[in-house]
């Protein structure tokens, strides 16, 4: 339903006076969950998402016997929004997890081949669990930042006698690229980035673009119930490539 913020957005203005392509303030804190092998909390404006990485051992998939596994899951926890319900992930949570997974996997920022202990028998599984803590819009972009930050914080635990020794670490998880997901939204004839929850009410369609450091596109996901022209798509991809460079700087130490 339309509201004062979305109404304002239709005329090209935002209630916090941001430009249409401006992101809110971003805060990234890593290593906040000591029981996890890697973790990060990202605040994007008032949207808060916590990502935790756990490393486990498992048997590889039959068609990739020499590769470790990456499993991304997302919880739209009911505490984050009055619209989230308890229970198994719905279609939006499922989509978010799969879009984040795609970005991480296709960008090859984690070399799964290096996570193989014994071919065909034992590999490392990297579980990325995304927990929404407060929903104020732009969940995918924030979740991706949290996931990447958590992976960059991850240490691979020591393995002894085919078992994980918790608390003892071997090395950092190698993260080879810093892919960034930017969701470009279309409102009327304008392109908008990082909408707040209230602004999302008037967003007709969006395109999430995952851009790698070398500007290669690793994932695309069109969302929303309205169509896009070919021209729109090309413009949105360029906006995303541009913005990803700015957001990547957050990870420069």
């Amino acid at each position: 339903m339309e509201n004062y913020a979305s109404n304002l957005l239709l005329s090209g203005k935002r209630i916090d006076n941001r430009k249409l392509d401006e992101f809110r303030e971003i805060e990234i804190k890593q290593g906040i969950i000591d029981k996890a092998e890697g973790s990060a909390m990202v605040k994007l404006g008032k949207t808060k998402i916590l990502a935790g990485v756990k490393i486990g051992l498992g048997t590889p998939f039959p068609d990739t016997p020499n590769e470790g596994m990456l499993i991304v899951n997302a919880e739209f926890t009911p505490l984050a929004s009055p619209d989230f319900e308890s229970g198994p992930p719905g279609e939006d949570a499922t989509e978010l997890a799969r879009v984040v997974d795609r970005g991480i996997r296709e960008s090859k920022c984690i070399d799964l081949k290096k996570l193989c202990k014994t071919p065909r028998e034992m590999v490392l599984c990297v579980f990325v669990d995304i927990h929404i803590i407060n929903h104020d819009g732009n969940l995918i972009d924030c979740a991706f930042l949290a996931s990447l930050a958590a992976l960059m914080d991850t240490k691979i635990p020591k393995i002894k006698d085919d078992r994980i020794v918790r608390g003892k670490f071997e090395k950092d998880l190698p993260v080879l690229y810093k892919p960034i997901e930017v969701t470009v939204c279309k409102v009327d004839d304008k392109f908008v980035l990082d909408p707040m929850f209230k602004e999302e009410a008037v967003i007709e369609s969006k395109l999430t673009v995952c851009v790698r450091d070398d500007e290669k596109i690793c994932a695309l996901q069109k969302q929303g119930s309205k169509e896009l022209t070919m021209d729109d798509i090309k413009k949105m991809i360029e906006i995303a490539i541009d913005k990803s460079k700015e957001l990547r700087k957050l990870f420069e130490r």
């Binding site: 296709e106 596109i217 069109k222 798509i233």
Partner: protein
């Protein structure tokens, strides 16, 4: 899911003999399910989907009803025997995501506001999976909606485009899909040139991506002609 280290394009031809812009043999039939309001069966090579449409019909539970518009519900499902390694019955995460993007691919084309408080149910079953199943599903769903008499702005046409062995190809089969450097699922309302489905995974430069999109649009125009024939032919028997 078969991974291979072999080349997928040999002497300019793909392993199944196709040229890089060739579709697999396409079969489209409508009115295949008597009880449904609309139905269609579409195959691209060895990928085969069957769709039925029920509605607009009354929507229960009532709290889901929207007083000013009907809604579209979509269920994509792969039959357990449709793939080599039996797929466990029931909606997995992949099916849930595909159901969502399929619904959003068809929604912009439908005039749901003509039918407040109702639902149009679209059920897509993949009987044989050999790559590009979701786009086959969208193609079938679109003509099934037309045979059901659901008012639409335009048909919706879909195709897949991918990059294998450094080249852009269309209509990827299972082997190509699993071994591609990139693959794109694309759907468009052909007369309006408006895109309703776009997903991609892999690695493409911006230029390659733009080229793929143009190739997808061109391929969809070919498939559109096939949809039109299938619908118009259904009256001549």
């Amino acid at each position: 899911m078969v991974k291979t280290n072999e080349k997928l394009i040999v002497k300019g031809k793909r392993l199944d003999g196709r040229a890089i812009e060739d579709l697999r043999p396409v079969k489209m039939d409508v009115d295949v399910i008597e009880r449904a309001d609309g139905s269609a069966q579409v195959a691209f090579g060895n990928t085969e989907t069957i769709v039925s449409v029920y509605g607009p019909r009354k929507l229960y539970p009532r709290f889901l009803q929207k007083s000013d518009t009907g809604i579209l519900r979509c269920r994509y499902n792969m039959a357990p025997f449709s793939v080599e390694d039996r797929k466990r019955p029931g909606p997995g995460r992949r099916s849930i995501e595909i159901s969502k993007v399929t619904r959003l691919a068809l929604e912009p084309a439908t005039f749901l506001t003509d039918f407040p408080k109702t639902v149009v149910d679209v059920f897509i079953e993949v009987l044989r999976g050999d790559g590009s199943t979701r786009v086959a599903g969208v193609n079938a769903a679109s003509i099934a909606l037309a045979t059901a008499g659901v008012p639409m702005r335009d048909l919706v046409v879909a195709c897949s485009v991918g990059k294998i062995d450094g080249k852009l190809v269309v209509d990827l089969n299972g082997l190509e899909d699993n071994n591609s450097e990139a693959d794109i699922a694309f759907a468009i309302m052909p007369s309006k040139e408006k895109v309703t489905l776009l997903q991609m995974d892999g690695r493409l430069t911006k230029e390659e991506l733009f080229e793929s999109l143009d190739l997808a649009k061109k391929t969809c125009k070919k498939i559109y002609e096939m949809q039109k024939s299938a619908l118009k032919e259904s009256f001549k028997d």
